[in-house]
């Protein structure tokens, strides 16, 4: 099963390789990984999507926590959470498809961020499912290049 982990770590050189080394060394999966500093520049926030049964995910969480530079590990997918990913897609847009591409982008509430005579570069944000959906729709038209940020996630705020 898929799990989305949110990890706070000290923003020090080599920290990311401690995390990725742990995953490769112990044979855990990384499906996506995204990292940037938080409001406190000495702390980074890392969102990692992994998969495995409960025992494996428990091991992953414990092993991450064991790293000296890791401050906090939360499996946000255990509760309600919001996840977002951004994708940049360079899609073929020649005279016969330009209008259709724009319609698709509009449906997905995407933005055109770069235009050339033969392509649009599109920015779309959403859940992994939504990103997958737009990619599936644009694929037959012709995707020239694609770059994804990987998922970032946050647990939902308490409603009380």
């Amino acid at each position: 099963m898929k799990h989305t982990l949110s990890v706070l770590l000290q923003n020090k050189p080599g920290v990311l390789s401690r995390v990725t080394g742990l995953f490769s060394g112990r044979g855990f999966n990384i499906e996506s990984l995204s990292v940037a500093e938080t409001l406190d520049a000495s702390v980074s926030s890392l969102t990692l999507v992994t998969s495995g049964n409960d025992a494996i995910v428990e091991q992953i969480t414990k092993q991450l926590h064991k790293l000296i530079d890791v401050i906090k590990v939360t499996d946000v997918s255990e509760g309600e959470f919001v996840e977002r990913e951004m994708v940049l897609i360079r899609v073929k847009a020649e005279s016969n498809t330009r209008a259709e591409v724009l319609r698709v982008i509009d449906i997905f509430r995407g933005k055109v961020v770069d235009v050339s005579p033969k392509s649009y570069t599109v920015e779309v944000t959403g859940s992994t499912t939504k990103i997958k959906a737009i990619i599936d729709i644009l694929k037959p038209i012709g995707i020239k290049e694609i770059v994804r940020t990987g998922t970032i996630a946050m647990a939902r705020a308490s409603k009380s």
Binding site: G14, R18, G21, A55, Q59, K66, I68, V70, I71
Partner: protein, 566 residues
Amino acid sequence: MGKINGSQAIIKCLQEEGVNTIFGFPGGAVIDLFDELMDSGIKNVLVRHEQGAVHAADGYARVTGEVGVALLTSGPGATNGVTGIATAYLDSIPIVVLTGQVPTALIGNDAFQEVDIVGITRPCTKHNYLVKDAKDLVPTLREAFHVARTGRPGPVLVDLPKDVVATMINFPERKPVRMQTYQPTYEPHMGQIEKACKTILGAKRPVLYVGGGVILSNANEELTELARRLDIPVTMTLMGLGGFPGTDPLSMGMLGMHGSYTANMAVSQCDVLIAVGARFDDRVTGRIDAFAPHAKIIHIDIDPTSISKNVKVDIPIVADCKHALTAMNTWLTQAKDLNEDEIKTKHEPWLATVNEWTEKHPMAYATDGEIIKPQYVIEMLSKLTGGDAIITTEVGQHQMWTAQFYKFNRPRRFITSGGLGTMGFGLPAAIGAKMAFPDELVIDVAGDGSIQMNIQELATAKQYGCPVKIAILNNNYLGMVRQWQELFYDKRYAGTVMEVTPDFVKLAEAYGAVGLRATKASEVEGVIKKALATDNLVIMDFTIAREEGVFPMVPAGKATTEMLLV
């Protein structure tokens, strides 16, 4: 106080930590540090290979419980130390390894003797550091010692660029190390302690399964108290030997691949398994689904990742073994309506079963006239040293025979590479142990294969007046692998025949040591006695039964009840 240079600051840090001996090998990147060490009062032991330095620091740490320190130069000096670091990591031994590094301006330039040792050792250290700014030097070293010795101990490496070490700095005042992100749990959860105690009291067939954690946390007395007050039989892992007296009637000896018949049978039949500072290693469990299949499992470990890693645990207790066992003993003392004699009586049939197993299949071997059986050598060593020497080993058959036939009654007496299984560990580790306790008898039990992996350290032992005794069980084979080949590879001895082995007696003499040889069983006792009476470095070369095997043996991947017996 005025400014001091980085080297001086490092020495001061070492002194603050109570370090009086370090094991090292110099080079361009650490020449300043060696220079400073010379007048520091800290004993600097010059090894002959960096692997030896790290193993010696490791041996020092294992016998004392203090942090061992090694100092290596950059590049090849550092990489030669990696096996030593990994050895300490797998057995959770607190050491600090200081490595020289090229000046910060050259890092990343493929400079002479540059290697990214922090990158290389990331997966085999508890933590490691590259000090890029001289102002971080002292805080980093203090943190390194703190991390190495607390929680689940382990090796910590600090990489020291040459310019950082040469920089003039103010020496900051010493304060207790506090780390936001690292706070090991020492105290057990009392609810879990109660659950564990009640489960133990409800057991009919309990077993204590004891690992190296008991030794690392100095919890042997608390463990012994728990076992004896309720009459619970005890089995130990390789790393746990000495954690409970080997001569106690409740001791079933070691379990696992080369464990005793009794221990493996007891684990397979027990209804409650109390794992203390052990990690359910594959050499212990055999086929995992057949391990303690009828048991509720209680697991005490300071490292949460050890719990439910290989075997699902019913009652986890994250704590220091000593604290947890103390809490359990206190709970039992305070428990109302608890009659410990009743519990003991309840365990009588179980202990009777355990004893029957031992009678049926004791740890034994067949004698063969004047041919020296390796087990006999170990028994003799055990007898003639009163079971009280510090014994180090290399890795292989001799290591298993030592674990099986030497009766360890005290912790920190059996020094062996358990997790990584590092051949070449025993001699440098023996030197480290002897440096820590010059008045203790230290014996390295070795095979003719593994002794040659770090034989160069004989010179270190000689130079520092470190009269360890080396007992080589010589069969001209890499015996453990040969045994597997005999059993599972149709006796095809591929790469295991040592067609050329040096004359160890002459070799000893070449190093200024004493060489003794026994080729007949009747000579064994005399040779050992002579070695013990000699106030010099001694190699005893025992020509043993060439194709003797280590039994019982659980073939890899089989259930631990499927033992091959003698």
